[in-house]
Amino acid sequence: MADFWTRLELLPLAAHIGETWWFPLLESLHVLTAMFVVGSIVFVDLRLLGLSAMRYPARRFMHELIRWTWASFAVATVTGLGMFLTRASWYVSNPAFQAKLLLLALAGANMAIFQWLGQRDIERWDTAASTSTAARIAGAASIICWIGVTLAGRWTGHLS
């Protein structure tokens, strides 16, 4: 496996990214799109917490915003992978980067669980003055996970 990560670093594309202005370009686009992911999700979470935008049906509010979140997430992933290639074996052994991947997985699991279980009774609270307990838990967990992803992502660059 260690061999695999090293081989990624030796790809011509990886060398090109690492040695040219491609790296700062990818990194700045990563910051922009990843923070759009967090920013759009936070406002969905506030709706799930019943704290904001209650005049809009929850399902519609989430659906309209989250397609932009996904598009942004796709760009953040591609730009992130581009940076990852340049020092793949360093990233995989970096504890902050490992924490970031774990927190991303937790954020994804939280979203999936909410999709399957938390939304089952959405008819009951879609337009109600407050949301369900499950929705509030999912919203709070999501905010915590995404701030954690941001912190671990930023911390990754501080470890040598």
Partner: protein
């Protein structure tokens, strides 16, 4: 112009605030990434508030949301994020004034930020008066959107300024 900035950087470097910022960043464990994360999460709030609002006025996003209501709901988030951005950013500027005040990218970032703030105030005010469909409102939204994107990208490029402005 650049002599003025050099003077400013020297003045900051000689101030007590500079010593405090350097001391904190060096000696409080984990402080740099934590303060940077505060900065980043505030950027996320800007993107989720004024940038989404601008995209809505441009009719690209959240069609069922009312721009007038959005302006009242989102403006406090945008203006609330600003002081956090200024405070979290200032620690690094105080600690290394020459890195920032002599950096053309930092000048671009601050200029774009000022424009973005003026355009945000204008866009929210227009929406508060019910004006969100006019050519003027859309022009302000488009210019504001671009100003925020330039601010954020230029911020990251401060560290890579040599690629664009090779040192003499």
């Amino acid at each position: 112009m650049s002599e003025g900035f050099r003077e400013l950087a020297r003045w900051v470097a000689g101030s007590a605030a500079h010593d405090v910022a350097v001391d904190w960043l060096r000696n409080v464990p984990g402080l740099p990434p934590i303060v940077q994360t505060l900065h980043l999460v505030s950027i996320a709030v800007v993107l989720g508030s004024i940038v989404v609002f601008n995209l809505r006025v441009l009719r690209l996003i959240v069609p069922s949301q009312d721009p007038g209501e959005m302006s009242r709901r989102l403006a406090p988030w945008t203006w609330g994020a600003l002081p956090v951005l200024l405070a979290s950013g200032s620690i690094f500027v105080l600690a290394r004034p020459h890195r920032y005040f002599l950096n053309p990218m930092f000048g671009i970032k601050l200029s774009a930020l000022v424009a973005a703030c003026v355009l945000a105030a204008t866009g929210y005010a227009l929406a508060g008066r019910g004006e969100t469909e006019s050519l003027r409102a859309r022009g302000v939204a488009l210019a504001g959107l671009l100003a925020w994107i330039v601010t954020i990208l230029a911020g990251r490029w401060i560290a890579y300024v040599d690629y664009l402005f090779p040192p003499e």
